[in-house]
Subunit: 469 residues, 2 copies
């Protein structure tokens, strides 16, 4: 089945009109149907064409989300939760039309409990806003997917990012949440206890469900003390294999690395030009350690020794914040630096995740595939988790390039799955990866469908995502 | 509704006879119907009376588990997965009869991947057997619920234990699993990637479902390097409050404590007598640190300073394994030591978990309740998680004592829930805590029922557990 078929959902224009009229009455200015706002709420950060919702609602309370969902349920109209729109696989597209529920006005911090290292927030708050709010408490929320995504969206896509190797993913850092279900009812999936054995794990069921099982309206998150000290640096390696071997050895030794990022040769070339940095043009690991003053020195030294064993080095590292920022700036610049490799092109970012023992193989085969297909596609990876990203630079107006890119991504996904991995480590399924669910999950996909049907029998919550028709 | 009502499930004698005859034919000696083996497979480690299954099967493969489940599905007969029977809330009871599926013969290690820090095992292997198997690899599986439980049972009850504060619970340490569902089909919930955003988290849905959604037939587990060094010790405190404040401060400081266990005054008294140890008779924290040689010294010293700030000490600690074992022996002896407080009595172990900021309040109120009710009930706790156990010593032949104990446990559960906690941090619901699901989860319980009905419409998988009728 072609990707375009997987994206089609029946639209219901008459129902849309009724619901839009009613929402306009109820929400006033907080319900919008203008073309540009609808476009903005269905834009995708990939080449997937936008599919516009019929209107965009801006609720300010759980009760308003319930009202919207009930109304849509009554009229069998899709409801698509929207955070900041930074998802990468067409998650916020509206293939069947319906109402985009923009959570940006539900962005309050409801409670911070420093003794419990937790806080409760509304879903629309972004991770940067949350950390700004928390700054004076000495605590922080570590999950960092790159974009300044909303916390609700990050939970819905089971996001992670550079420091998941130490702090885990959204799966690990949401204590409990509230969500509005397809019938407009609300559940609270747990209290604030750090662990519980009381029944089915509804928290984890909602996390990663991409708005297809419920719309998250509040979350209790784990927080961490801002580390006393941080050390970090950059280490070049003769090959991807050598870098991966060093990562494996570091983790096996139990060095509690906070970030360990691989940047491949092509990406390093782009960085050198873009950021005018004096790095070698070979695969590099960008690493960071969090802990006590002596701990982070010990860890950096241990890492340097391990790196040297695999032919890596020199490992330049520092505890100085400014110096560290300079060293790491290159890593944060990868997106913009990549674009310079092909001016005018759009970047399609895709991700897979494999067992770390297969990571070098997977990257090497992928680099070979890129070369063979003549693509320009640098690679960066959260290699401590076996997770990496390929950014394909393509002309989205050229159908042949799109076809070729889809073929490349398809081969990449198949490669990762065949290496006992997954077609997405952190971006999610959305529309873009829906065609790989059957291969990855087999009969498990039927179980997902059974759960979806049981909890959303009218298929109104973000239809056309995760589950292939 | 009385607890006894919650435990009743309709029996089907005719179906049981048919299924038992067929299983005898198929499995031969590996299907047993003798009274004592059926008793052994429904024994509970609490006062909850045993309810015997009709027979006990010992499958040796996933296919045999499928056969058993299909047969039971056809005849609408309950199927109860059985690990080692060390669960504490009547999880393996057979209120509606049926077939107990003893997984002890499915106890192989299927793969160990040292580079990936994971292994794949069958569910019947116990945690001690697994760690013995792993010893030469330098790796270990950290979850330690006390009993030498089976890995499958630990996953099914979302078990944890003393070092969850550092390593997490079974929720965090199962990468993926296979399970036989109510219709006899098998799902594999994921591959070996450390993280995935590909669809609903079926792994976490099965973990903690106590055999009511599927029977686990294999698990991929996270492993950890055996720490280079361990330090540990014991620190007395003037009060439970002071000890809890020290725990909060330790965790806030980011000291990566591996175990931090509270033993209350009564339990210390029992330990002193039982183990002839020269400890003060006041609340104590038993702590352990895992890391590098210098790291574990630094951590122990930091903890000692924090303890002193809250009036605790002297903190006696060591890196010497033998000395550490001696110091910690008392903690491991708590069960047997407790029994000496009331010779001839049976111990009922119950657990709750609250946000750590409420832990001292919760323990203090519980100690007051114990005093007021005239119970003998020492307390130990995994206080880093806000989780604690009360062991009520009771005469199980005295209905008045049982009634009083049920009242005490009920008040304890309500207290924990009202403090934003849970009625069980790690023991699970089984039959014993089924009456608290509504209070804890509200409408979430309806969602759990919806999922159960969708995945097990005939209610054959461990009926009468988790979900109140």
């Amino acid at each position: 089945m072609a990707l375009s078929d997987l994206r089609s959902v029946q639209r219901n224009e008459a129902a849309a009109q009724i619901v839009c009229d009613l929402l306009k009455q109820r929400l006033g200015e907080r319900f919008q149907t203008g073309q540009s706002i609808r476009e903005q709420h269905s834009h995708t950060t990939t080449y997937i064409p936008s599919q516009l919702p019929d209107g965009v609602a801006f609720p300010e309370s759980t009760e308003e989300v319930q009202d919207i969902v009930k109304l849509c349920a009554e009229h069998r109209l899709p409801v698509i939760a929207f955070g900041t729109g930074s998802s990468l696989e067409g998650h916020v597209n509206a293939p069947g039309g319906g109402i985009s529920v923009d959570m940006s006005r539900m962005n309050r911090v409801l409670a911070v409990n420093p003794d419990d290292l937790d806080c409760t927030v509304e879903p629309g708050i972004t991770r940067v806003a949350l950390n700004t709010y928390l700054r004076d408490t000495g605590l922080f929320f570590p999950i960092d997917p790159g974009a300044d995504a909303s916390i609700g969206g990050m939970a819905a896509t089971r996001a992670s990012g550079t420091n998941a190797v130490r702090y885990g993913t959204m799966r690990d850092n949401v204590v409990s949440l509230s969500a509005v279900l397809a019938d407009g009812s609300v559940i609270k999936t747990g209290n604030r206890a750090k662990k519980s054995s009381a029944g089915y794990d509804l928290t984890r069921l909602i996390i990663g469900s991409e708005g297809t099982l419920g719309i998250i309206t509040s979350l209790t998150l784990k927080l961490y003390g801002i580390p006393q000290a941080i050390s970090g640096g950059v280490c070049p390696f003769p090959s991807v294999d050598a870098a991966c071997q060093a990562v494996i050895a570091t983790i096996q030794m139990g060095v509690p690395v906070a970030r360990i990022e691989l940047v491949n040769q092509l990406q390093m070339r782009a960085l050198k030009t873009y950021a005018h940095l004096d790095y070698p043009e070979s695969p590099c690991l960008f690493v960071e350690f969090h802990g006590s003053e002596s701990g982070v020195s010990e860890q950096a030294e241990t890492f340097g020794e391990i790196a040297a064993e695999f032919g890596g080095g020199p490992f330049l590292w520092t505890k100085d914040a400014e110096e560290r920022a300079r060293l790491w700036k290159a890593r944060h610049d990868t997106y913009w630096a990549s674009l310079t490799l092909r001016p005018g092109a759009k970047g399609l970012s895709t991700d897979v995740c494999v067992p770390i023992s297969r990571l070098a193989d997977c990257i090497n085969e992928t680099e070979a595939d890129i070369a063979e297909m003549g693509l320009i596609a640098p690679i960066v990876g959260h290699v401590g988790d076996g997770n990496f990203h390929v950014m394909v630079l393509l002309d989205v107006n050229d159908p042949k390039e799109i076809e070729q890119t889809e073929r490349f991504v398809s081969r990449l996904n198949d490669r990762a799955i065949s290496m006992d991995g997954t077609c997405t480590g952190e971006h999610g399924i959305g529309q873009g990866k829906i065609g790989f669910m059957q291969r990855e999950h087999g009969h498990g996909l039927d179980v997902m469908r059974t759960i979806k049907r049981a909890l959303d029998p009218r298929d109104i919550l973000n239809p056309g995502k995760i589950l292939p028709p």
